[in-house]
Amino acid sequence: MFKKVMAGIFAAGLVGAAGTAYAGKDLDAIKARGQLLCGVSTGVAGFASADSQGKWTGIDVDVCRAVAAAIFGDADKVKFIPTTAQQRFTALQSGEVDLLVRTTTYTLTRDTALGFDFTGINYYDGQGFMVNKKLGVKSAKELNGATVCVQPGTTTELNLADYFRANKMTFKPVVIEKIEEVRAAFFAGRCDVFTTDASGLYATRAANAPTPDDYIILPEIISKEPLGPVVRHGDNQFADIVRWAFFAMLEAEEYGITSKNVDEMLKSDNPAIKRILGVTPGMGKALGVDEKWVYNIIKQVGNYGEVFDRNVGAGSPLKIARGQNALWTQGGLQYAPPIR
């Protein structure tokens, strides 16, 4: 996170020179091009990574595809542009990408000074703890006196100290510079606890643990890392489409519309579902896209639950629990305003 902050400050300095003189409609440019340019990360398991055939998959990738489905009716009309942490904001500012969905934490400075708009939160991340099951620990509150493996110079380290102090506990930090070595140290038993962003803990457990089942990730999340899609200022209509393409995936999950049953749902009597799927027209027109926009998203990409499950959840090797990313109706934070 420290790196993210630094990159933000760096980019904020740059944008002072560049200004916000982005005239013209991004949406028109996208339509004329016939393709959405979507900035993703250069490889984060479950969020954006290329498979053996070079096809991009992940929860971030699916947000891009949903936007393409809303605009073009075809989720494949998107080009993924891998961006590094340093380069991502410039890429968005300079127009190299139309939309950035790159595990980017939603913060005030990025939303304002950088000249961007966050259109939602497609993944609620936060710092968590992983321990070996043998310790018998069920909650982070029981970690008094533990040795903790952590990377230095990140907000992770500061959050860790704050959390233990707030709960009147002590810990012995094992500070290691490189993340690969932090993981190796943890699995070699040099420390009791490994702490980083929860999604990172799940990915580490799936990829690096000798036997993944020996390790558990504790339920406490001690920091806020809301990750979301970003667009640049200057085209509110495009921002609206990105915002509602994601909300549509949440709404669909709430109403039980999946990629499998979406065709039957077209015959539903529920007025909300009729509005969402464009059986009762009006929503598409208001947004400036085809009336079947939600149908296309759900049919080709799936609802949020399906996307989560397939990329990071139970249906994937990462096996991340829904937790905060469950719908509000199921005790999570994912809440979409109504489509009406």
Partner: protein, 426 residues
């Protein structure tokens, strides 16, 4: 008299078996003293122990056939991962069903490099080889090539100028006229094109579907960055080196300033400048291809280093060579190309190849700006959640491929040294 055998029947005894063959060699070199003997045994044990562990991991307990990463876990090396991912590692995100295109592009580039390694090709043939090789490579990679009119005019201008400079004393009047004609057509055409009199016109060759550079990845990217980086950096470096020794203060100052500036910053900062800063200075909406930006950064950087290597060669030449060339009445281009450079370059072959090998590996730095070169696609293979967790295998594989290229270059440098120094060898 009975015990004396005829001289002709006497056979010399073979030397004692302990002094010949393998045993003799071992006795002489490995066990010549107690200290040496103990060192040998300790080292043999150590080597066997390490090798045993490595072979156990890499061969005997290795998994070659698993279909998912979790099946692979627990045993030795997971070579099944390489089997699953090698196409991605070699060709990146290039459309899967069209992987034959980067494959043949790589073959074309290698053929081009191998052919130009042969000294018999070092004349006009080199231009033909590179012309055809580059055309085939980029046609396969892009799928479609559009040659704009302005480029054709520019080439005409350069050809005419070069011909005139190099063959001024030798050319017949009609040949000279041809050069003037080329310069005239090129210059006038370019001016008209810039003024907008001539239309924006181009020759299009489009047998395949277009694949943009952002989808390129793997070995072709590494090879293109290194090959064309060095191919352009070499003449550029020669010019810089000559400029640095120029008597004209302006040219000398510019060259020294450029070389020192570029040498003073790391390649990473140059790449970041090209990929992060440059787009902010361009008018909004215009973007220069990211791959091209990286390629230019590599050329500039390599050029500065090559210039310094070549300057070493230029300085090693005795002054008499320059004076003799002047006395022959050669003009500057002729003197440089016919007398000075051939001698200077011969001297600097080892450091030059050293620079080349270094840059071949340095191209992997483009991963920090999100270009998928060979090392970066190998990195990507580690991220796939289905196959994550086997960094050793992937990096070993990548190292092996890099080694093949770098070792060939180093062998070639050895051969070239011998070839070019035939005249001075005792």
């Amino acid at each position: 008299m009975t015990d004396a055998m005829p001289a002709g029947d006497r056979k010399p005894l073979a030397p004692p078996v302990e002094d010949t063959g393998m045993i003799g060699w071992a006795r002489k070199n490995l066990f010549s003293s107690w200290g040496n003997g103990i060192t040998t045994i300790v080292l043999i044990v150590a080597v066997v122990w390490v090798l045993n562990g490595f072979l156990e991991w890499a061969l005997f307990t290795a998994n070659f056939t698993a279909s998912t990463g979790s099946e692979c876990r627990g045993g030795g090396a997971c070579w099944a991962l390489i089997r699953e991912k090698f196409r991605y590692i070699f060709f990146g995100s290039f459309p899967y069903e069209q992987h034959w295109r980067p494959l043949f592009a790589v073959i074309a580039m290698l053929a081009m490099l191998v052919l130009s390694a042969d000294r018999r090709m070092w004349n006009w043939r080199l231009l033909v080889i590179w012309g055809i090789g580059s055309f085939v490579t980029f046609l396969l990679m892009f799928g479609q090539i559009h040659i704009p009119l302005s480029l054709i005019l520019f080439v005409a201008l350069v050809c005419g100028g070069a011909g005139l400079a190099l063959r001024s004393a030798l050319a017949t009047p009609s040949e000279r006229m041809a050069y003037y004609a080329l310069i005239g057509i090129g210059a006038v055409g370019l001016v008209l094109r810039i003024l907008g009199v001539l239309p924006k016109w181009s020759i299009g060759i489009a047998p395949l579907s277009y694949v943009e550079t952002s989808l390129w990845g793997g070995l072709p990217v590494t090879l293109i960055l290194a090959t064309y980086g060095l191919a352009f950096a070499f003449p550029y470096g020669v010019l810089l080196a000559l400029g640095r020794r120029s008597n004209l203060p302006l040219i000398k100052g510019l060259c020294v300033g450029f070389i020192e500036l570029i040498r003073g910053v790391p390649l990473i900062s140059l790449l970041i400048m090209a990929s992060v800063m440059l787009p902010l200075f361009l008018p909004s909406g215009t973007t220069i291809d990211k791959f091209l930006r990286a390629q230019v950064a590599v050329i500039l950087f390599a050029g500065a280093y090559i210039a310094e290597v070549i300057r070493g060669g230029l300085q090693s030449l005795p002054k008499g060579q320059f004076e003799a060339a002047d006395a022959m009445g050669l003009n500057y281009p002729q003197k440089t190309l016919l007398i000075i450079l051939p001698q200077a370059l011969r001297v600097v072959i080892p450091p030059l190849i050293n620079t080349f090998i270094g840059f071949f590996k340095d191209t992997s730095l483009v991963l920090i700006i999100g270009i998928f070169d060979f090392l970066n696609t190998a990195n990507q293979a580690l991220v796939d959640p289905n196959w994550a967790g086997f960094p050793g295998e992937v990096y070993l594989f990548a190292a092996f491929v890099y080694f093949i290229f770098c070792y060939s270059m180093s062998r070639y440098s050895k051969y070239l040294e011998v070839e070019l120094n035939k005249g001075t060898r005792r």
